[in-house]
C-alpha cells in the first residue's frame, strides 16, 4: 500500500534529519581532538626534552664538571664526550654545550666553539630555572645548526666543582617532537573516533526507533480519522434511513389523512374547516419535500447509484433552497470529464469536499459563479472548486472555515492533499488531489 511507502519515507527523513547533524558534530569533534592532541603531544615532547636535559645535567654533566674540564683539559673533554655520547645514543640530541656566566663556552660536543665567547643569550641571563624554547639559529653560537631544521633548545643551570654556576644547553630536533605528537595522536584517535561512532550508532538507533514510533502514531491517527469518517458516514446513512422510513412516511400518511378529512368536511358543507384541513395537508406535503431534500443532503444515495458527476450536478442549490433577500444564488457549473472509476472512499471524499466548497461559496463568498471541475492528472484524480466571490485571507480563521477544516481532514483520510488559494476580492480556489483508486 502507498501508506507503508509514505511511512518508510517519513522514517528515512527523520533518521537523516537526526544523523546528519550528528555526523557533522562528529567531524568537528575529531578535528578539535586533532588540534588538542597536537598541543598535548607538543607539550609532552617538550617536557620529555626538558627531562632529557635535566637528566643529562644531573647524572652526566655535573659529576664531570671539574676545574680541569673548564680549563679545557682534552682528556676530560673526551671523557665527557664519550659519557654523553653513550647516554644520548639513539636519542634525538643534536648538540650539547656548557657556558660559564661570562658567556664563554667551556665545553661543546662541537670542538669548534669551545673557548669562544658569545653575548650571553637572554635565556641564560634570566635567572637559573630550566627554559625550553625554539633554538634561534641566527645567533652566532648557533651558526653550526641547520637553520632549516626546527630545533628546540633546553637550557638549565649546572653546578661546577669550583662552586660556580654554569649553564648547560641541549639542542633537540623538533621534527622528532612532531613525530612523537603524531604517535600520541594516533594512539588515542582510534579510541576517540570509535567511541564517537558508537555514540552515533546508538543515536541512530534511537532516531530510527523514534521515527518508527512517530510514523506508527501517524498511521494510527489516520486510521482513527478514517474510522470516525466511516462511522459518520454510517451514522448519517442510519439517520437518513430512519427519517425516510419513519418520519417521512408518517408525514405522508398524515398529509393523506388531512386531505381526506378536508374532502369530507367539504362534502358536509363545512367549507371553513375543509379549507384549513386542505392547507394543513399542503403544509405537511411541503414538509415531506423539505425532509426529502435534507435527506439527499446528509446522505447522497445517488452517489452510489448515479455516480459522481450526477451527484456533483445535484450540488447546485435550487432557487427555493436559499431564503429570499439573502445572497443571490450563484450559477454552479460542473465539468466532470474522464473521471476514472473510483473506490467508494475516494468518491465519497470528492463529493464531500465538493459539497463543503460549494456550500462555502454559496453561503459566504457571495459568488456569482462556482465552477466545479473534476478530472484526471496522471494517476491522480483532481477536484477543483473555483468561485468568483469575495475571497478571504487563507489561514485566517473565519466563518465557514470549519468546512475547510473538515475538507482537509477528509482529504487526509484518503491520503490526498487539499490546497486552498484565495485573495480578498479575488474569489477562492479549492483544489483536492488524490491517487485515483
Amino acid at each position: 500500500m502507498a501508506d507503508s511507502g509514505a511511512a518508510r519515507q517519513i522514517v528515512r527523513r527523520e533518521v537523516l534529519r537526526f544523523l546528519i547533524p550528528g555526523l557533522i558534530g562528529m567531524l568537528v569533534l575529531t578535528g578539535l581532538s586533532l588540534v588538542a592532541a597536537v598541543a598535548v603531544a607538543r607539550e609532552q615532547s617538550q617536557r620529555d626534552a626538558e627531562m632529557t636535559g635535566v637528566f643529562l645535567a644531573r647524572s652526566v654533566v655535573e659529576p664531570r664538571l671539574s676545574g680541569k674540564l673548564i680549563e679545557g683539559d682534552p682528556s676530560e673533554i673526551a671523557g665527557l664526550d664519550s659519557a654523553l655520547v653513550a647516554t644520548v645514543e639513539g636519542a634525538d640530541v643534536l648538540g650539547l654545550r656548557i657556558w660559564d656566566s661570562d658567556g664563554v663556552v667551556v665545553y661543546a660536543d662541537d670542538p669548534r666553539v669551545i673557548g669562544e665567547t658569545f653575548e650571553v643569550a637572554p635565556t641564560l641571563a634570566e635567572g637559573h630555572g630550566v627554559t625550553v624554547s625554539p633554538a634561534d639559529t641566527t645567533r652566532p653560537e648557533n651558526r653550526y645548526l641547520d637553520p632549516s631544521a626546527q630545533i628546540v633548545e633546553v637550557s638549565l643551570p649546572v653546578a661546577g666543582a669550583d662552586g660556580r654556576t654554569y649553564t648547560f644547553q641541549v639542542h633537540q630536533l623538533q621534527d622528532q617532537i612532531r613525530e612523537q605528537a603524531r604517535e600520541i595522536w594516533l594512539s588515542f584517535v582510534p579510541v576517540l573516533v570509535g567511541s564517537l561512532l558508537l555514540m552515533g550508532l546508538l543515536l541512530g538507533m534511537l532516531a530510527v526507533r523514534m521515527a518508527g514510533r512517530i510514523s506508527a502514531d501517524m498511521a494510527e491517527r489516520q486510521e482513527l480519522l478514517q474510522m470516525s469518517l466511516q462511522a459518520g458516514e454510517l451514522e448519517r446513512g442510519r439517520i437518513a434511513a430512519q427519517l425516510h422510513d419513519g418520519t417521512v412516511q408518517q408525514l405522508v400518511g398524515l398529509s393523506f389523512t388531512l386531505a381526506g378529512l378536508s374532502s369530507r368536511s367539504s362534502a358536509e358543507g363545512r367549507d371553513d374547516q375543509a379549507a384549513s384541513l386542505a392547507a394543513a395537508a399542503e403544509q405537511t406535503r411541503s414538509a415531506v419535500r423539505g425532509l426529502r431534500s435534507l435527506l439527499v443532503d446528509i446522505y447522497p444515495a445517488n452517489l452510489d447509484r448515479a455516480g459522481l458527476p450526477a451527484a456533483l450536478e445535484d450540488l447546485a442549490p435550487s432557487e427555493g433552497s436559499v431564503p429570499e433577500g439573502g445572497p443571490p444564488v450563484p450559477r454552479v457549473v460542473v465539468r466532470a470529464e474522464d473521471v476514472p472509476t473510483l473506490s467508494p472512499e475516494v468518491r465519497s471524499a470528492v463529493y464531500r469536499i465538493a459539497r463543503e466548497s460549494v456550500a462555502n461559496a454559496v453561503k459566504h463568498a457571495a459568488a456569482q459563479e462556482v465552477t466545479v471541475t473534476l478530472g484526471c492528472d496522471g494517476g491522480d484524480v483532481v477536484l477543483r472548486v473555483a468561485d468568483d466571490g469575495v475571497g478571504f485571507v487563507p489561514g485566517e480563521p473565519e466563518q465557514g472555515h470549519l468546512g475547510l477544516i473538515i475538507s482537509r481532514d477528509v482529504a487526509e483520510s484518503v491520503g490526498g492533499s487539499l490546497d486552498i488559494d484565495s485573495d480578498p476580492g479575488h474569489g477562492a480556489v479549492v483544489t483536492f488531489r488524490t491517487e485515483a483508486r
Binding site: 425516510h244 422510513d245 417521512v248 412516511q249 408518517q250 405522508v252 400518511g253 398524515l254 398529509s255 393523506f256 389523512t257 386531505a259 381526506g260 378529512l261 378536508s262 374532502s263 369530507r264 362534502a267 386542505a278 395537508a281 399542503e282 406535503r285 411541503s286 415531506v288 419535500r289 426529502r292 444515495a301 445517488n302 447509484r305 448515479a306 470529464e337 474522464d338 473521471v339 476514472p340 472509476t341 484526471c376 496522471g378 494517476g379 485515483a436
Partner: protein, 205 residues
C-alpha cells in the same frame, strides 16, 4: 366504480390513503397489503382496476411485486407511489410493468386524477419522474455519451493499438487508459475490447 388496492409497509400511509380515496364517489379501496408478496396475492384474489404500490418495502419490494402482478393480472394497472424520484427507480418500475409513477407529496387532486387516468388506460407520471424518463430517452436517442477523451481512447483502441501505445499517444498513463476503457464498456454496455472496437467502427466515423 374504480377498485383500488393499496400496498405500503407503513400503516399510517395506508390509513391516510383509505381516508383520502374514500371521499371520492367513483373510487373504492377494496384491500390493502403491507409488503410486496402479500400485495401480489391480494391483487390476484381481488383483481382491482388499480394498485397503488410503494417501492421500498421489506421482503418483496414494489418493483418485484409489480412484475408479478403485471404477469398474473394484465388487466390491473400498477401505479407506483413512492418518495424516490431518481432515474434508476423510475426506469426499473416502468420496465417491471407499472403504468404510472407518482410521488408521495402528490396533491389530493393529482392522486384522484392519477387513479382515474390509470383505470382509464392513461399513465399518471409525476413531473420529476417524467424528466428522468425524458433524459433517458434523449440519451438513448443520442446513442452514446462518451466524453471527448473517452472517444479519443476508443478510436485508438479501434485502430488496434494496445493500451501502452494508446497511453503514449494521448500522453496519459496506462492506468488512466484502463480506467477510461472500464467506463467506456459500461457506457456502451459491452464487456470487452473487441466489442468496443466493433461499436467504434460502426458509430465513430
Amino acid at each position: 366504480m374504480i377498485s383500488v388496492v393499496v400496498v405500503d409497509d407503513h400503516e399510517v400511509v395506508v390509513q391516510g390513503l383509505r381516508l383520502l380515496l374514500a371521499e371520492q364517489e367513483d373510487i373504492e379501496v377494496i384491500g390493502s397489503a403491507h409488503d410486496g408478496a402479500e400485495g401480489a396475492r391480494l391483487v390476484e384474489e381481488l383483481r382491482p382496476d388499480v394498485v397503488l404500490m410503494d417501492l421500498s418495502m421489506p421482503g418483496t419490494d414494489g418493483i418485484e411485486a409489480t412484475r408479478v402482478i403485471t404477469e398474473s393480472c394484465p388487466s390491473t394497472s400498477v401505479v407506483i407511489l413512492t418518495t424516490y424520484g431518481d432515474r434508476d427507480r423510475v426506469l426499473a418500475s416502468l420496465d417491471a410493468g407499472a403504468v404510472g409513477y407518482l410521488m408521495k407529496d402528490v396533491s389530493p387532486q393529482a392522486l384522484h386524477d392519477g387513479v382515474r387516468a390509470a383505470a382509464g388506460g392513461g399513465s399518471p407520471i409525476d413531473a420529476r419522474a417524467a424528466r428522468a424518463l425524458v433524459e433517458s430517452r434523449q440519451d438513448a436517442a443520442g446513442g452514446h455519451r462518451l466524453t471527448g477523451k473517452q472517444e479519443e481512447v476508443l478510436r485508438l483502441v479501434a485502430e488496434g493499438l494496445p493500451n501502452r501505445l494508446v497511453a503514449r499517444r494521448l500522453d496519459i498513463t496506462e492506468k488512466t487508459v484502463k480506467a477510461h476503457l472500464t467506463q467506456i464498456y459500461a457506457t456502451l454496455g459491452v464487456t470487452d475490447r473487441v466489442q468496443a472496437a466493433l461499436w467504434a467502427q460502426e458509430h465513430l466515423r
